[in-house]
């Protein structure tokens, strides 16, 4: 099947030359704004291009996330990189190959169809010629529209895609200085910034004289309630910022509800109905007569989650002659560039360059952009000198955006046969994506502390058309005649929330899959059979059936062990995952095993997909059993790893993953696919082992004691 639908990434970058450069003999530069965050995307994109161009993957170099030299694309998020950029790369690589083949045919007086490329060397009729992709590229105009020349290969002709090409970036990351945190530029200074005790706190007094006498060689930078230090040595900068903290008095900040999650649950924010499907126009799901069957309801809550990257946020900024250059591990290089333009009042396209440099995994919008503004503000005071800012572990917990707390209420009405006749869900939440530059707001914390301050960022949540934020995966894929999905977005709490892996999906799938299990129990039907009975999508059925077979469902039941299942198609449009876990309850709550079946359409790199699915299961297990950010008022009281335990090596489950090959179908994003089903599966397994439903995340021993007394 020839795939010639365009890609949104081609809208701003329509030409072959926007994506590829063959100026250097034997090398191909592939350009993209998508960035490597540990998911293996750059290797996968090379595989796609290598196939279309018939050039060995080793010859590719990727220029990723460079705002001056690379294409303008949306941020790396929502499992969209393969679906959107992968398609653009395939189309562009194909067009390039056809342009070069046409030129070769002209030069060699051959028919284009007889021209073949073998690792970049032109062959005609099976015989090698002196022409190469690189010699041809010297004369062929590549500034021509991709869509006018593209004709991607048939799936059966691809030979690099579908193989487990090892990650091209991993060798360096395993043993060398490969990260933004390791970047060392000539003349680089070390900066540190004082993070406020809460989002709204402002400096009332700073004893600058005391600081200057203690640290005569340290430069102190203050602008409003933004306070930082610059030193030649990193260890001196760390000591100086600790001293600055002692020299600073902050006001009390805002007064907030004692229980923030409770405030989200009881918000009076307007309800926004995002989807309403009824089997007749007059029939709103809730109006179904409950006497014909039963009405089951559920309220769940999830606390705030930290991105909790192993490395705190970091950036290096340099000002030279009014031009700003920033090295950053942002997921949105262009968004960061534009947001910095807002703060500094300069044309970002002309005067600011953001260069992506990998950081440790962040799984969403961490302090990656905030720290870039910190570095740029400090660097502005020492023109010509690069300034590196690395947040402390405590800063990263306290100042970075959090994954939103949520309270989800769902209701299912069963008909007389126990089938789900209506399903209604309302997800209360803070917004799930507040990236810099969004809605024209600076959106970085330091901007709000400057004098005069930039307005705090308060935008709407992600709309359903982009996969939804609070309502992500709130719509069941199950065939239910009446479905109503709504959300209430809480905008008035002084807690900064933004994208964390899956956005609202983990809380929503946890809720609706719990309700499916409860409905199955009410109907007296096995939970797997109940789900299959409510599904029309064959791909959904297939992953559930496969996972059940892998796990030996329903498995042996015992007093303290049980299996549980969770299923979702991420965003109801990306990859399908069914996950079954075995939970053991004794002194602790342990997930001992996990089995996952995944359908991600065409698989570009099987081992890479496998790795993402495994990682999602382990991270979701950690979220479900352990993770919670704690507050005192609006002050975050999570400071270090001892306050925020994550799953340890000795606690990880044994995991089996099977990938369902659908190489005739388009690839579906899979970076987040296993997370929400795993959360749901653990919830259901705990319920079966305990005989009681735990509706609060994380599911800790304390939560169980509180629930069952």
């Amino acid at each position: 099947m020839i795939d010639i639908a365009s890609s949104p990434s081609l809208d701003d970058n329509p030409n072959c030359a926007d994506w590829f450069d063959l100026s250097y003999e034997g090398k191909v530069t592939l350009r993209t704004a998508k960035v490597e965050i540990g998911q293996g995307i750059l290797t996968a994109l090379v595989q796609i291009a290598a196939d279309e161009m018939d050039i060995h993957p080793d010859r590719f170099e990727v220029l990723s996330g460079h705002t001056r030299l690379g294409p303008l694309e949306a941020q790396t998020a929502s499992s969209l990189s393969l679906e959107v950029t992968g398609r653009a790369i395939r189309l562009a690589a194909s067009a390039l190959r056809h342009l070069l083949a046409s030129e070769a045919a002209t030069l060699l007086q051959a028919v284009p169809d007889d021209v073949a490329f073998v690792d970049g060397t032109v062959h005609v009729g099976g015989r090698e010629t002196p022409l190469t992709s690189w010699t041809l590229a010297q004369t062929v105009d590549l500034n021509v529209p991709v869509m006018a020349h593209t004709a991607p290969k048939a799936m059966t002709e691809r030979c690099v895609v579908g193989t487990s090409l090892p990650r091209q970036d991993l060798p360096a990351k395993a043993v060398t200085a490969a990260f933004i945190q390791d970047l060392s530029l000539d003349g680089m200074m070390h900066g540190r910034v004082l993070q406020p005790p809460s989002l709204s706190a402002r400096i009332t007094h700073f004893d600058g004289e005391a600081m200057e006498s203690r640290f005569p060689n340290v430069q102190i930078v203050q602008n409003g309630s933004f306070l930082g230090v610059i030193a030649a040595r990193e260890d001196v900068a760390i000591r100086a910022i600790a001293a600055a903290d002692q020299c600073t008095t902050w006001d009390a900040g805002a007064t907030v509800a004692a229980d923030l999650v409770e405030a989200i649950g009881t918000t009076e924010a307007a309800e926004e109905v995002v989807l309403h499907k009824a089997d007749s126009p007059n029939d709103s799901g809730a109006a179904i007569d409950p006497t014909i069957g039963a009405t089951l309801s559920m309220q769940t809550r999830r606390t705030y989650i930290a991105h909790a990257s192993i490395a705190p946020s970091c950036a290096v900024a340099t000002w030279r002659d009014g031009e700003l250059e920033v090295y950053s591990h942002t997921q949105a290089p262009h968004g960061l560039r534009d947001a910095l333009g807002i703060v500094f009042g300069i044309d970002p396209v002309k005067h600011i360059t953001v260069i992506h440099t990998p950081g440790a995994g962040t799984y969403g919008h961490s302090g990656q952009d905030d720290v870039a503004l910190d570095a740029a503000l400090l660097a502005r005071t020492v023109p010509g000198s690069p300034v590196r800012v690395l947040w402390s572990r405590a800063d990263d917990f306290a100042a970075a955006p959090l994954g939103a707390a949520m309270v989800v209420c769902a209701q299912a009405t069963l008909d007389a046969n126990g089938r789900m006749a209506a399903f209604s869900i309302v997800s209360n939440s803070q917004p799930h994506a507040r990236r810099p530059g969004q809605d024209g707001a600076a959106g970085m914390t330091a901007a709000e502390r400057l004098e005069p301050p930039f307005a705090a960022h308060c935008c709407d949540d992600v709309p359903l058309v982009r996969g939804g934020g609070a309502e992500r995966n709130a719509t069941p894929l199950y065939a239910i005649p009446n479905i109503r999905v709504a959300k209430r977005i809480v905008k008035d709490l002084p807690v900064r929330t933004s994208a964390f892996r899956g956005l609202g999906a983990p809380a929503n799938v946890f809720t609706l899959e719990a309700l499916m299990d409860d409905a199955a129990a009410y109907a007296g039907v096995d939970p797997i059979a109940y789900r299959l009975d409510h599904l029309e999508d064959e791909r959904a059925k297939a992953v559930i059936e496969r996972a059940a077979a892998m796990a030996g469902w329903p498995g042996r039941e015992s007093d303290d062990e049980a299996l549980g299942v969770g299923f979702a198609q991420y965003k109801n449009r990306s990859a399908y995952s069914a996950v079954i876990v075995r939970v053991r309850l004794d002194e602790t709550i342990r997930v001992t095993h996990a089995w996952a079946a995944v359908d991600a359409g065409e698989i570009i790199n099987p081992d890479g997909l496998h790795n993402q699915v495994e990682g999602g299961i382990i991270q979701a297990t950690s979220l479900t059993l352990k993770e919670a950010v704690t507050f005192d008022g609006d002050r975050i009281t999570t400071h270090g790893w001892s306050d925020y335990p994550i799953l340890k090596f000795s606690e990880v489950p044994q995991i089996a993953v099977e990938l369902i090959d659908q190489s005739h179908l388009p690839p579906l994003g899979a970076g987040e696919t296993s997370v929400a089903p795993t959360v749901a599966a653990i919830g259901n397994a705990v319920c079966r082992a305990l005989g009681a439903r735990i509706c609060t995340l994380p599911i800790t021993r304390d939560a169980i004691v509180a629930a069952i007394g």
Partner: protein, 156 residues
């Protein structure tokens, strides 16, 4: 600031003129240019900065440089920048035992110390040895498998 502090790093004698209380991590990374050792939490809680001091794993972020004076320090560069690389490095790459990869240098140093004890550690023993190390991406099982492979003399 006092006199020079002398010790050995990866078999080479080094001398640094820094305050004796300076964390070893900053000396390795900034004074000696050995930036393969990661800065993680800076509080000794995540294991990312693990190096070997006389063969024993320590967290360099909360170890003062004076503790290394007269001793031998071994960093990830001793495993990764040799030819051929250490079997542990080969095994990690063969298993694709990482996602972001940030935790790997510290884990590899811990694994080197574990393997130096001899024998073929079980999965449980390897996991227990790694419990002072945090991995946030979820590459745990692959990392354990890679260490088991290297311990059994396998590898790429």
């Amino acid at each position: 600031m006092t006199g020079a502090i002398e010790f050995e790093v990866n078999g080479n004698a080094v001398s640094v003129a820094v305050a004796p209380t300076t964390p070893l991590l900053y000396v390795l990374r900034n004074d000696l240019g050995l930036r393969g050792t990661r800065h993680g939490c800076g509080e000794g809680d995540c294991g990312a900065c693990t190096v070997l001091l006389d063969g024993r794993p320590i967290t360099a972020c909360n170890t003062q440089v004076e503790a290394a004076a007269g001793h031998q320090v071994e960093t990830i560069e001793a495993l990764g920048e040799t030819q051929p690389p250490h079997p542990l490095v080969d095994a990690v790459l063969a298993e694709q035992a990482g996602q972001c990869g940030y935790c790997l240098p510290g884990i590899l140093m811990r694994a080197k110390a574990l393997l130096a004890q001899g024998g073929a550690p079980s999965r449980e023993q390897i996991a227990a040895a790694l419990d002072d190390h945090l991995c946030r991406c979820g590459a745990h099982n692959r990392i354990i498998q890679a260490i088991a492979t290297a311990a059994s003399g396998g590898g790429a």
